[in-house]
Amino acid sequence: MATAYADPAAPPADAGQMLPPQQLPGVIPGREPTIVMNRVSKWYGDIVAVSDVSFGVAQGVTGLLGPNGAGKSTALKIITGLIAPSNGTVTILGDPARGSPNIYRKVGLVHEAEHIYPYLTGREFVRINGVMQRLPSLEPAVERAIDLVELTDAADRRIGGYSKGMRQRIKVAAALVHDPEVILMDEPLNGMDPAQRLQMIALMRELGRTKTVLVSSHILAEVERFAENIVVIVNGKLAAAGDFRAIRDRIDAHDHAVRITTSEPRYLAMALIGHPTTRSVRIDPQQRVIVETDDVRGFYAALPLLAKRSRARLFEVAAADESLSSVFAYLVEG
């Protein structure tokens, strides 16, 4: 499987010169890209939201990864046709999404916005999405979609009373009611509890067997669980695109900062300081252990045993935000 990286050192192609679909970053040889984003830019006055981004996405699950504000949502909105690019072209299944309403028979979007018509029940919301898709056998499709997100028991309750996780799931059901070929999801796991996340990840994988699924997220570890390919966008630019494992190896080779909330910060820090994966350890003012490591996978593998030895209970282990940004920045820098 090929990995294609955006090469910032490469001379830019001529303005307006489109890349052949098979040469787009992220395109896997032998697989026809379903979504093609070709030299797309979007700016608002002086602010550049997306800068000369090109990639292709084929059947399977692809993660659209980047820190908050990187331009992921803008890219998804350009792909769906909600906003027009300032430059470049976007096609889904060979057609431009913007200005072609019929393409939406084959596309489903899980929108990032939380608000859904609160006066409708979950079932009514899914049903009206099916009606707008003019489905010939509406009710079986509605039941199937609600069943897919395991929301049958709550389907007749008003959406206004749903939790955030339930709203996310009913949005997914509405996006799937017409069995689309291309599914775009903007941060679909936000607000879900661990059990719901597992269920949604399993659903994404299942959908990816036959469909093109593009899922945006700012959490690297999360994307790893469902995506075989990733597209990384940082500061509106394409940082990397292609096989997840190859890109992950590049990311892992970079120093990471990990933040640990524990019952015994000093004992845990002492245990960590002698470990070969650790580059530095400190305790922040909130009594959390901040560890810098140059082998994040080895570190995560060793952490449970080190914690047990130091009799420290772990409450939270998370990548420090600044670390994630620096990882993405590292990808951009090459």
Partner: protein, 248 residues
């Protein structure tokens, strides 16, 4: 789901949206204002002759001020609320033409506004002509026709504003109060270029009473044709705008 929902899902979704919201109360509150004048007349019927009194209230207060202000609430909310709540993608990312979305939204706003405004107009008429209503039915039909036509055209224009201007409510109020009310009154030629004049023309044409006259009336056919043209232009411009709108 009923056949109606299947045929016009955005129309019925918008009806639910309006009925469940507070905006409909604002429409009712504004539309009930002329009833206060009718009640004043009921308390003191010696103020004026009833037909003249109600004609003054309707043409000088209801048509230029109350009708556009009551209508703009739902007209600007039809798309404004969807944009504000970020629910518009649920409508536009469907295999449905933008024209149909605009038309169904327009009809839903009219379907709620017109009965409310028309209902309070009828009550105003009833209070003034209490006990002699049967002799003044022509006036009721004239007022209701004007309300129906006015609701349609104002809704189309204000809905179009909401797709073009971020502060559509403010723009609609300024348009109603400045163009339709103040300028139309003080600049004679401008009056003929106002929606108010078209709607007033429908009113006087249906009543067909020499005592209730309008200088430069376009007649029923002319006024209704002009109203339909303005509505069609507003719908087409709204459709054009919705096709080009960037939905964040």
């Amino acid at each position: 789901m009923t056949l109606g929902w299947r045929l016009a899902p955005i129309f019925f979704l918008s009806l639910r949206q309006f009925i469940g919201g507070k905006a409909v109360l604002a429409v009712a509150g504004l539309a009930s204002l002329p009833m206060l004048f009718s009640l004043i007349y009921r308390i003191n019927p010696d103020i004026d002759r009833p037909r003249r009194y109600l004609d003054d209230v309707f043409t000088e207060f209801m048509l230029p001020s109350v009708l556009p202000l009551a209508v703009l609430v739902l007209a600007t909310g039809a798309f404004g609320d969807e944009l504000e709540d970020r629910t518009l993608p649920y409508l536009v990312l469907k295999p449905i033409s933008r024209f149909r979305i605009v038309v169904e939204k327009l009809l839903a706003a009219v379907a709620i506004s017109a009965p409310i405004v028309g209902g309070f107009t009828a009550l105003s008429w009833l209070f003034v002509f209490w006990g002699e209503a049967g002799d003044n039915l022509d006036m009721l039909w004239g007022m209701l026709a004007a309300v129906a036509v006015g609701t349609l055209v104002y809704t189309a224009v204000f809905q179009f504003f909401s797709l073009f201007i971020q502060r559509a409510i403010l723009a609609s109020i300024i348009y109603s109060l400045v163009w339709e009310t103040v300028l139309g009154r003080f600049i004679p030629g401008l009056r003929y270029a106002s929606i108010r004049h078209l709607v007033s023309s429908v009113y006087v044409s249906v009543i067909d009473d020499r005592r209730i006259a309008l200088t430069g009336s376009f007649g029923t056919a002319g006024s209704v044709t002009a109203v339909l043209i303005i509505t069609a232009v507003a719908v087409l411009l709204g459709t054009w705008r919705l096709r080009r709108l960037n939905i964040e």
